[in-house]
């Protein structure tokens, strides 16, 4: 019997980024007891990295904006594979969620008449993103954190969950460990909200930190929950490419929103060369009009640099592949050129994009007010994840809820920039509320010793294998390399098929690796414990990508470069089979009510 400490809550929230904190605050307001598990220190989750803003159709800058337009933009961006109900709720509720943050102390940039300022972003028809310079995520997580610590929420910092505990098909708690001492923890709970974010660490080039190993997705999958849309992984078009040590770090879309342009080495604005059909009428066909749009001209159409992320990322890959890339294998993103258009451009850039200025100056010796940046695609965001009910955010497992990046449905085949922060707020709130409701009508379930014993012995196994030569870092790196090469931004059926046996081999290696040292704050051990999760989500991405034999949104298959209307009617579900095998199931996209269909038609 392993030693462990027990904590009991009505609602357990796993993850303390925007969605987890918002869920905890809402559950607390509903009057239940809450524990929050935080993989790092409080306030360090990836939400802090979000730069651009929170999408909410408040209409402060352009009064033509409303929830219907936001809904249609989100569905178009997601290529209509979105969960329509989530897209509807998100568009309706995000303005109130932003105002709620302001009531808790968030300080957004202002319009001239003192309201919340909104900026342009890719795929959004009107200026819609509430923002704070280019550090909106910090403002959001700090507001939630500072509000949350006074709501009677118990936070367990630097703890990680290893397993969800089940009883009779329902979730009854979680088993994990604390980083500092390596001691086991048992959390009994009536309902569990998973809000663990993404899977970026499955790839070599990523904007994600070490935490994003798909924990929540793998935990839910193992507990029997369906995953959906796993083939749709967003590669953000603009990550840093040079120097090598910073490769993958995000360059906000806000640079393009403020007038930044993409050029190849021939100095050509290549984004004008390929504007996809659904966006043609909304996109500027000349540089002059594009510039006017970024400066708030309401009659101008947006420049092609503000098309959706999937499309821009592919255009960049094409430029690089065809030999028109920048010196270090990217393309050029230039904001300094606006000095030709406005006075005090240098000050303007520093004011609007302070952290970008800082980041390039300090990490790459580049002054973005004077010279272009080199950028290329970086693994950024998982559209897919735990399948949830649109209203309640409950997964297919009773008592198990999910919100934020680890949940799926809102974004369909591709997420619009700015729709993530609003997703965290809207669905974090809903998950917290409905988890509290579930907890109120359910008792605590029994926790089986066998489940705890198994989780504990699996976790300690890497210490026992003293004869193994291999450590966890090499296996992780090889997995990242393999996923980058075979299941990356441009895919082919053949390469995807190759990835499966590779995954099997990596899985074998992960079962034999060893770690040194003891259980206290042992980064090597933690890396070993994260590996099975990374392997599960990598396999899910690969299998879903094999199944979707077409190109749509973020999923691009070179061997099937076009959309196939048949695949436009299905979502792909990943489910754990009775023998532990990974099943791939095509499920029809739920039918949309007539009034929503009409909104989409009208906005075309």
């Amino acid at each position: 019997m392993p030693e462990y400490t027990t904590h009991t809550y009505d609602v357990l929230v796993i993850g303390a980024g925007g969605a987890g904190l918002r869920a905890a605050i809402e559950a607390s307001a509903a009057g239940v007891s809450i524990g929050v598990i935080c993989k790092s220190l409080l306030g360090k989750a990836h939400t802090v990295m979000a730069e651009g803003g929170i999408a909410a159709a408040m209409g402060n800058v352009d009064e033509r904006d409303n929830w219907q337009v936001h809904f249609a933009d989100t569905m178009r961006g997601g290529q209509y594979l979105n969960n329509w109900r989530m897209a509807e709720l998100h568009a309706r509720e995000s303005p109130d969620c932003v105002r709620e943050l302001e009531a808790w102390g968030a300080l957004f940039d202002r319009t001239k008449d003192g309201r919340i300022l909104q900026r342009n972003f890719g795929g959004h028809k009107y200026p819609r993103l509430a923002h704070v310079g280019d550090r909106t995520g910090l403002e959001m997580i700090r507001t939630l954190q500072d509000h949350g610590i006074h709501q009677g929420i118990e936070v367990h910092m630097e703890c990680t969950v290893l397993k969800l505990l089940m009883d009779d098909g329902r979730v009854v708690g979680a088993f994990g460990y604390d980083r500092e001492r390596g001691r086991f923890l048992l959390f009994k709970a009536k309902a569990v909200v998973v809000a663990t974010g993404g899977i970026g660490r499955a790839y070599k080039i990523t904007s994600n930190s070490w935490e994003y190993t798909g924990d929540g997705l793998a935990l839910a999958y193992d507990a029997g929950a369906d995953l959906i849309d796993m083939e749709f992984l967003q590669f953000h078009p603009t990550g840093m490419v040079w120097p090598p040590s910073v490769c993958g770090i995000l360059v906000t879309e806000g640079v393009r929103g403020e007038g930044g342009v993409l050029r190849n080495k021939e100095h050509r604005r290549f984004m004008f060369d390929d504007i996809p059909e659904p966006y043609r009428t909304q996109t500027a066909d000349n540089e002059e009009e594009g510039w006017r749009y970024t400066q708030g001209d309401r009659n101008a159409r947006r420049p092609p640099e503000l098309l959706t992320r999937d499309h821009i990322a592919r255009c960049i890959v094409r430029e690089i592949k065809e030999g028109r890339g920048s010196p270090h294998g990217g393309v050029l993103l230039d904001i300094s050129w606006i000095k030709e258009r406005i006075p005090n451009a240098e000050e303007h850039i520093k004011k609007k994009l302070p952290s970008m200025y800082h980041q390039f100056k300090q990490l790459a010796d580049i002054d973005i007010t004077k010279e272009p940046m080199e950028v290329g695609p970086t693994t950024h965001y998982m559209m897919g994840g735990i399948k949830v009910d649109g209203d309640t955010q409950m997964s297919t497992v009773p008592g198990l809820f999910a919100a934020g990046e680890c949940a799926a449905g809102l974004h369909g085949a591709n997420r619009l920039g700015g729709n993530s922060l609003s997703d965290l707020l809207v669905f974090g709130k809903r998950a917290g509320y409905y988890a509290a409701c579930f907890a109120k009508k359910s008792g605590l379930g029994p926790v089986a010793d066998a489940q705890i014993n198994l989780a504990a012995s699996n976790a300690l196994a890497p210490f026992e294998r003293t004869n193994s030569a291999e450590g966890p870092y090499q296996v992780q790196q090889d997995l990242q390399e393999m996923m980058q090469n075979l299941v990356g931004i441009v895919r082919t059926g053949g390469e995807l098929e190759q990835a499966l046996p590779e995954l099997e081999r990596l899985g074998e290696r992960s079962k034999h690796l060893a770690v040194s040292g003891n259980r206290e704050y042992n980064n090597g051990w933690h890396t070993a414990l994260d590996l099975p999760n990374l392997l599960t989500v990598s396999e899910a991405v690969t299998r879903a990508a094999i199944e979707r034999q077409e190109s749509r949104g973020a999923h691009f298959r070179e061997d099937r470069p076009n959309k196939d209307p048949e695949f436009g009617k299905v979502n792909i579900i990943i489910r754990k089979g009775p023998a532990g095998e990974m099943q791939v199931i095509r499920q029809p996209v739920p039918a949309m009510p007539q009034e929503l269909k009409q909104i989409i038609e009208e906005m075309k």
């Binding site: 202002r110 990490l363 790196q477």
Partner: protein, 257 residues
């Protein structure tokens, strides 16, 4: 390729020692990259904190060649590599393991500060109106990434160990952000003087010098707060007025307490 030597503190609560690791360095590398390389190749169990790797989360604070800095924002080409680069944990806080320290005290301090409390909304739709220039003033403080480098370098904490009585620069910045927030109506002046002992700060500006976000901690946050305390408690005219009036002279600008 060039190599460099890193003299890394390895140890735990009981104590420890510096250990040298030589590793290959390449263009653009930061200290955090070097630590990761050491971790992957030589010392798998090397304990360190990091997250964003872009100076935005404030996790990877350490003392590099004796200076409190973020490992992810310290370029190797800014350091002399002809001698070992020392990397050690924040010395003001109790060691946990290697480069990781117990910073939980900071989170407790924050809980002891009166939270944001807004005035009633300005508009019938429940929203507020604020001018950008009023927001700008506070946004400087809200840039703080809670790396705790200012806490680490503050001699009131580091040398004099006044953890029980003194909030430290991070939380004066936090209180300045609240006190100067255009919507906030809470009054924290008594606590600034009392439980948070702002008077211990003798404005040596060490905190401001190490802030990776370049927040002008001393001049823009601490001094204005000290002035509020001085106005309230030490200004003879205010004091006389208070005695004559038999109450708090500031009542008109704050909510009833």
């Amino acid at each position: 390729m060039a190599t460099a030597t890193f003299r890394v503190w390895r140890g735990d609560r009981e104590g420890g020692r510096f250990q040298d690791y030589s590793t290959v360095v390449s263009e653009g590398m930061v200290v955090l990259d070097a630590m990761h390389r050491v971790q992957a190749e030589q010392a798998h169990d090397l304990a360190l904190r990091w997250n964003c790797k872009a100076g935005k989360c404030g996790s990877c604070s350490a003392e590099i060649n004796g200076m409190p800095r973020l490992m992810c924002m310290t370029r190797l080409n800014q350091l002399p590599l002809d001698k070992p680069v020392t990397v050690e944990p924040l010395r003001a806080f109790p060691p946990v393991r290697d480069l990781v320290t117990d910073v939980s005290w900071n989170f407790e301090v924050k809980k002891s500060i009166k939270p944001f409390k807004s005035r009633v909304p300005d508009a019938p739709d429940g929203t507020w109106r604020m001018a950008q220039k009023d927001v700008d003033r506070v946004q400087e403080f809200r840039k703080c990434i809670e790396c705790f480098l200012c806490q680490d370098v503050c001699h009131v904490l580091r040398e004099h160990r006044k953890f029980a009585e003194f909030a430290g620069p991070r939380y004066f910045v936090h209180m300045a952000a609240l006190e100067m927030h255009p919507l906030d109506v809470e009054d924290r002046t008594a606590e600034l003087k009392g439980t948070h002992s702002i008077g211990y700060c003798n404005i040596t500006t060490c905190c401001r010098k190490v802030c990776p976000e370049n927040i002008t901690i001393t001049e823009n946050a601490i001094i204005p707060l000290k002035e509020r305390v001085a106005d309230r408690f030490y200004d003879p005219l205010t004091k006389l007025f208070r005695i004559l009036r038999g109450g708090d002279s500031r009542r008109s600008t704050g909510p009833p307490r």
